[in-house]
């Protein structure tokens, strides 16, 4: 448990860590800010922002009226190429959010909605990597 506390304390802005939600969702989180009590992070896939308790690594997620518990389960640093793929995914999904906010009828092109080979490689990698490197 002390290792877990230390691992959570060491999360810094720009780090990518992983949390699991009680519905089985995999949250690949990019750290946006860190305060004394809270780690604020954005899911690179859904762009949902979570406030994790910095002491416990827990966060609440309300989706369509249902609450799920989320728990940080890995802070292992990703290899640099995979880290970059996750940042690119974050940027890609953020652009979709912006476009939809500007025009709700906007639809992404196939190039924007299809996963590239690199993205597929990155997503398969993180799924296994975080499972093998839990805190």
């Amino acid at each position: 448990m002390p290792d877990r506390v230390a691992a959570l304390r060491n999360i810094a802005v720009g780090d990518i860590f992983h949390a699991e939600a009680s519905n089985g969702a995999s949250l690949i989180c990019l750290t946006l800010s860190v305060s004394e009590k809270t780690i604020r992070a954005r899911n690179v896939a859904t762009q949902i922002i979570y406030d994790f308790d910095r002491a416990t690594g827990n966060a609440d997620w309300y989706v369509y009226g249902t609450r799920y518990d989320c728990k940080v389960d890995s802070v292992a640093p990703l290899p640099s190429d995979i880290h970059q793929i996750m940042l690119d995914l974050d940027r890609k999904h953020r652009e979709v959010e912006y476009r939809l906010a500007e025009n709700p009828d906007w639809t992404p092109s196939p190039e924007q909605s299809h996963f590239t080979k690199d993205e597929i490689r990155g997503l398969l990698f993180v799924d296994k990597f975080y499972e093998d490197n839990q805190i």
Binding site: N23, T46, V63, Y64, G65, P104, S113, L123
Partner: protein, 107 residues
């Protein structure tokens, strides 16, 4: 005793919506905020909105199936989510693993 013009209405029983009051309840929004459920009943009732483009299940097949994923602003069933990402040529277990970050429904 003078009455300040802006005092009008102060003595009516206004319903407070301040977060500090015990009666306060979040207003429902599309992404939640209403009375939270402790089960997945509400999520299980989400319907697939089909995929962007012209080959989603909105044009037949399993249209209206329960949505499990949220991608590109749409709630989608597994089949549509797979097509949306063009990963239909991959093994099923890899499709599930790739889509896990977009999961909104229950396991």
């Amino acid at each position: 005793m003078s009455t300040y013009p802006l005092e009008w209405g102060w003595h009516t029983s206004l319903q407070s919506n301040q977060s500090s009051t015990s009666e306060w309840k979040p207003k429902p929004t599309l992404l939640g905020g209403a009375e939270p459920n402790s089960d997945n009943q509400q999520v299980a009732q989400l319907k697939c909105e089909g995929m962007t483009g012209s080959s989603g299940c909105q044009f037949g097949g399993s249209y209206g199936a329960s949505a499990m994923y949220n991608q590109n602003g749409r709630k989608q069933c597994f089949d549509c989510a797979v097509k949306e990402r063009a990963i239909d040529g991959l093994p099923g277990d890899e499709q599930v693993r790739i889509l896990r970050p977009h999961l909104i429904g229950g396991k």
